[in-house]
Subunit: 403 residues, 2 copies
C-alpha cells in the first residue's frame, strides 16, 4: 500500500475510470491476442457492455483492430481483436561509449529498421548528427504517427531537471540532451540509464513466469550497473541515481576503482576484472614482468575465446570473476529478495561455465527465504534498445498515475 504524496498527487475525474479500465484492456489484449470481447469480459471481470464500449473506443483510437472470426463448438462466432501494431512508431536509441544504435519499432515492439553510428566525444556535434539520422529514419519508415523517442544512456540523469549529469564513459559534461532532442524532433523524449533500460526490457518482454513483480538487471561490461524494479516499478531513488550497487564496497582493501574507492563490486566482477585476473595469473605463472605489456591489449572477448579453447588460466580468471559476480548478486538477493535477477553482457556467452559458479555462491552466501531465479539474457534481444522503446510504450500500457 502506497502513501499518498501530498506534494504531487492527482485527483480522479470521471475519465479516470475509463483510463484505468482501457489500459487494463489494452494489456489484456497484448497478453492474450487474438482475443474476443467475450474473453476480455471473462479476463477482466467487467460487464459485456462495458467491454464493448471500451473496445469500441480503443478501435476508434486505432489502438486495436478487429481481426478474423473465430470458431467455437456452439453459438455465435467470436470476432478477434488484436493490437494495431501499425498505429504508431517508436524510436529507440542506445548510446554506448563507442557505438550508438538506433531503431524504429512498431507499437508491438517489432524492429522495422536498425542502424549504428559512432558515438562522439563532443555531445553537441553528436546530437546534431543523431537528430539527422533519426529524421532520415522516420522519413524512410513513414508511420501514422511517432509516439516518442526512448534513449538508453551509459550515465545518469537528474530526476527534477532531466539533464544528463553523469556519464564518465562518454566523457560528456552535464548536458540537456532531452530538451535538445525534443525541440529538434517535436517528439516526447525519455532518457534512462542503460541498466534501468535492461531491467525494463526484461520486465516487459522477458519470458518470465507468472507474477514477477520484483526484478533486478545486472549489466556486466567494463563496469557493473544494476536496474532495479520493485513493486512493479523502476526504483529511481531520490534524484534518479539509484542502482549504483556496482560501487558498493565488497572487499575493503581490494583494488582501486575509478570511482575513488577500493574493492567496489565492479572492480572485482566486471569484464575488466576478468582481464586483470588473467593478467595476474599469467605473470605469476611465467614469472615474467615484460609480458605484462602484451597482456594490456587483451580484451574480455579474448578471455572468452580462450575459455572456449579450455585455456586453464582463462578459465580460472573467469571463475574468479563469476565468484565475485555471485557475491554481489547474493547481496541483492539478501537485501531485496527479487523474483528474478537477469544478467546482461558478454559474460552470458559463457553462462554454462559462469552460471553454476554464480548459483553456488549465491546459494551459499545469500540469506533469504525467497527463491530468486538468476537468468542470463539472450544478447540477441538487444535489451538496452528494447528498454528504450519500453520507456515510450510504458506511457500507454503502464498503470495510470492515481492519487
Amino acid at each position: 500500500m502506497r502513501k499518498i504524496d501530498l506534494n504531487n498527487f492527482q485527483v480522479a475525474t470521471n475519465g479516470t475510470v475509463r483510463d484505468i479500465n482501457s489500459r487494463i484492456m489494452l494489456n489484456l489484449v497484448r497478453k492474450h491476442q487474438p482475443v474476443s470481447r467475450a474473453d476480455l469480459m471473462r479476463y477482466s471481470g467487467l460487464q459485456r457492455s462495458t467491454v464493448s464500449a471500451i473496445t469500441e473506443q480503443l478501435i476508434a483510437e486505432r489502438w486495436l483492430k478487429v481481426g478474423a472470426v473465430g470458431n467455437l463448438p456452439r453459438g455465435r462466432k467470436p470476432t478477434f481483436l488484436h493490437l494495431n501494431t501499425e498505429r504508431c512508431g517508436v524510436i529507440g536509441v542506445d548510446i554506448q561509449p563507442a557505438t550508438t544504435t538506433l531503431a524504429v519499432s512498431s507499437m508491438g515492439s517489432q524492429f522495422l529498421a536498425q542502424e549504428s553510428m559512432p558515438t562522439e566525444k563532443d555531445p553537441a556535434e553528436f546530437i546534431a548528427r543523431l537528430i539527422r539520422r533519426i529524421k532520415d529514419l522516420m522519413r524512410a519508415h513513414p508511420q501514422n504517427s511517432y509516439e516518442g523517442i526512448g534513449v538508453s544512456l551509459p550515465g545518469r540523469k537528474d530526476l527534477p531537471s532531466q539533464r544528463l549529469v553523469f556519464a564518465p564513459n562518454l566523457g560528456w559534461p552535464e548536458y540537456d540532451l532531452k530538451s535538445r532532442l525534443q525541440d529538434a524532433t517535436g517528439l516526447p523524449v525519455e532518457l534512462e540509464n542503460a541498466a534501468n533500460a535492461c531491467a525494463l526490457s526484461e520486465f516487459w518482454f522477458g519470458h518470465l513466469s507468472k507474477g514477477v513483480n520484483n526484478l533486478i538487471a545486472v549489466t556486466v561490461s567494463d563496469g557493473i550497473g544494476t536496474g532495479i524494479i520493485l513493486n512493479g516499478q523502476l526504483v529511481r531513488g531520490s534524484t534518479g541515481v539509484a542502482g549504483e550497487f556496482g560501487h558498493v564496497t565488497q572487499m575493503p582493501d581490494g583494488p582501486q576503482c575509478r570511482c575513488g574507492n577500493s574493492g567496489c563490486w565492479e572492480v572485482l566482477a566486471s569484464n575488466a576484472a576478468a582481464v586483470r585476473y588473467y593478467t595476474e595469473l599469467a605473470s605469476v605463472h611465467k614469472g615474467e614482468v615484460g609480458s605484462k605489456s602484451d597482456m594490456a591489449k587483451l580484451s574480455f572477448g579474448d578471455i572468452l575465446r580462450l575459455v572456449e579453447q579450455n585455456d586453464v588460466r582463462a578459465c580460472k580468471a573467469l571463475d574468479q570473476m563469476a565468484h565475485h559476480l555471485g557475491a554481489g548478486i547474493a547481496m541483492l538477493v539478501t537485501g531485496l529478495a527479487p523474483d528474478v535477477v537477469v544478467v546482461v553482457g558478454e559474460v552470458t556467452r559463457a553462462w554454462d561455465k559462469v552460471g553454476p559458479v554464480v548459483a553456488e555462491v549465491v546459494k551459499r552466501r545469500a540469506f533469504t527465504h525467497a527463491v530468486t531465479r538468476i537468468l542470463p539474457t539472450d544478447p540477441e534481444a538487444q535489451p538496452r534498445l528494447r528498454g528504450a522503446i519500453v520507456l515510450v510504450l510504458q506511457k500507454h500500457f503502464g498503470a495510470p498515475v492515481i492519487a
Copy 2:
C-alpha cells in the same frame, strides 16, 4: 510508472473515483487540519461542489467532524473540519524477544493506553495471554469501533500464507499468528517485520521535510534489520523477506554470524559487535584471559554508560561499531539513493559520538549524486509500536489499489 500486473489487478468502477478522491481529502485534512472546505478545494484542485459532497460523505461516515468557525478579513466565515480522532481505535502490538508492548491508539495515533508483558517461549500459550490482554484493553477503553490490530514482529512472515515463518530470536516455530488473533478478536490483523514497522512509522509520522518518497530504516540491536520504502511503498520482495541487508557480507573473512556466514554487516555493526570490540580491546590491553568471563556479562547499555564517562576503550569500541554502521549505510545509499536513512536503536542515545563517524564514512564510501540525510530516531517515539498502528491506518489513508 508501474506495469499493470495481469495476475492481480483491479478494474475501476464509478465508486473508484470517489474512493480515490475521498482518500486524498482525508490526507489533506490530516495534514492541514483545521481546514475549511474552501481551502480543501484549493489544495485538491477539485470543484467546490465536489469537495462539499465528499466532505459530507466523510462526515456522515464519521471520518471528519465539523469544528469551530474561522475568521477572515472579509466574507463569510469558514467552518473548520478536523479528523474525528474518536471515530475508532487501533490496537498496536510490539513483540520483542523479551518484552511485548501493547497499546490502544485513537485514529489520530494518540496512545490512549500502553502496557507491557513478558514474551514467552511457547507461542500458543503466549498468544492466549496476549488475546486476554487485548480484550481487557478494549474493554477498558471502549471505542465506537476497533479498526484492527497491527503487530510488529522480530521475524518474517510469508507473504502468500501470512504465517510467521522465521523468528530466530523468539525461538518460535512457523506459526499462524494472524489467523489465531483474527479468530479470537474478530478484528483484521496485520503482521509486519519490526524494521519495516519502523520505516512505516517514520514515513508516516516522522518530521521529514517535503517530498520524501524513499526512506530506509536501519534497526540496530543485537542484529541489524532494514525496512525499505521506495516509491512511497514498502518493499517486501518476492515472498515478503526483503530487507535482510543485515546479512550482507561486508568482510568476507570476518567473524562468524549466527546466519552461518562470516562478516555479515550485523556481525560487524550491531550492539553485540560493540560489546565484542570492547571485550577484544580490553583483553588485548590487559593481556589476560580470565577477564573474558567478567566481560561476558557486559551489555551494550554498559558500553554506552562507559562512553558517557569517557572510557577510552568503550569509546573506541563504539567508534568501530559506528564505522561499520556507516559502511553498511553507504551500501544502502549507493545502491538505493534514499532521501532519508533513519537509525533506530539504543545506539542513537550516543548519536553525538556515532553520527559524525557514520556521516564521514558514508561521505567517503558512498558513490552517489543524491543527498541522503541520516537521522537518528527519537527512542521515545516508539517506532515499532507506531508502525504497527500504521499497518492498520494505512488501509484507510493509503492510495487505493488500482489497475
